[in-house]
Symmetry: C2
Subunit: 223 residues, 2 copies
């Protein structure tokens, strides 16, 4: 059975890819070159896809920077220092990003004959983005069942799988380790430098996960 | 009040733009260059946007042809002759297209401070695409209310407006005429030639609308 996997090249999506692969699916990774600040993650995505020996790695190119409104797509907005205890949704939130990504994944799954879409969203150790929460995923699933020719005409149900949604970052790291996911190839930092900054939300959550798991993060951080 | 308008450059989206404009909104058109066969429609969209004197016309570029699966995005699949009485969903259906387009529109509305998204879907004189029906729009609206920082944190409700959804093509033509919509600038043909083919679904529906309205279609058709 085929499964489309949303692969950013970060820790979560790579563990998600490993979960889909371990479940016996033929994995069809899709990544997005949306002119993000941290386009370095695309190199990681390519290496992760290669690690899993995929036949095709779909990269969707799109100018989301022309919408902007986020520190990740507007070069004039700085990536703030991490503060994972805050209450509000940080400026690294990219408007409608997961909705856009899942919509492409649905179209791709329909054409490629995949029955599942894997997305590594996580609503526990995360930055508070609304489009990572279970309610969002559940509503997307309902909408997906009304959106496609596959569903409406052919009765093909394409399901969204979120294996990490209730895991802590520690548990995600441990799951990745157990499944031999290529964690050394991943890239999580929002700043997008050669080495991870160790200071943004994404780096802080990742470092916390490895620390609590009692493991050393194999990627390079700035000295 | 600002309104994002999905503007393909076709008859319906142009009338929809006129409706949003007549309602007193500052219209923010967004069009998609998705490597469609009929990219000629983008020239129409630009001219229509110019006609309305918009400050900005956002054009999202994306390689939906790398997903394919449609006569409109895969050059190896021919556009079939029109048959608007058929029961099945034709090969001109583009997987998840309106879902992808609405998702971008939602992100854009959030960043631009728009309260409405106008989309010219029509579920009466149409090609049977699942993502043009009221059920689809209603579910998208529910999802939108869970997807964005605007909704979740700021209580900003962005509504999807579908002024044409229950109109016949005749009524759409008459509405366009009444609002002085620039119908001569529009382009509906799927074949994407210099002049409209007059044979595809889209041309047949358009010609039927003008004929029933007792008006002459001002665009050029192949002799």
């Amino acid at each position: 059975m085929k499964a489309v996997v949303l692969l950013s090249g970060g820790l979560d999506s790579t563990v998600c890819m490993a979960v889909a692969h371990a479940a016996g699916h033929e994995v069809l990774p899709v990544s997005f070159d949306y002119n993000q600040r941290h386009s370095r993650e695309l190199d990681s995505a390519r290496q992760v896809a290669e690690h899993f020996g995929v036949k095709k790695h779909l990269v969707i190119k799109t100018n989301m920077d022309d919408i902007g409104g986020s520190a990740l797509t507007d070069k004039n907005i700085s990536v703030p220092g991490g503060d994972v205890a805050r209450d509000d949704i940080p400026i690294t939130y990219v408007p409608a990003r997961n909705l856009i990504f899942l919509s492409y994944a649905l179209g791709y799954a329909e054409v490629a004959g995949a029955d599942k879409i894997y997305i590594g969203v996580n609503a526990l150790d995360y930055s508070g983005y609304p489009d990572c929460r279970p309610e969002f995923i559940n509503l997307f699933q309902q909408l997906a069942d009304y959106s496609t020719k596959a569903a409406v005409q052919d009765g093909r149900h394409i399901t969204v799988e979120t294996p990490l949604i209730n895991l802590s970052k520690k548990e995600i790291v441990l799951l990745g380790k157990k499944l031999n996911a290529p964690l050394a190839l991943t890239s999580s930092c929002y700043a997008g430098g050669e080495n991870a900054c160790g200071k943004c939300d994404s780096c802080l959550l990742r470092l916390k996960g490895f620390a609590e798991a009692g493991l050393v993060d194999p990627i390079k951080y700035q000295g």
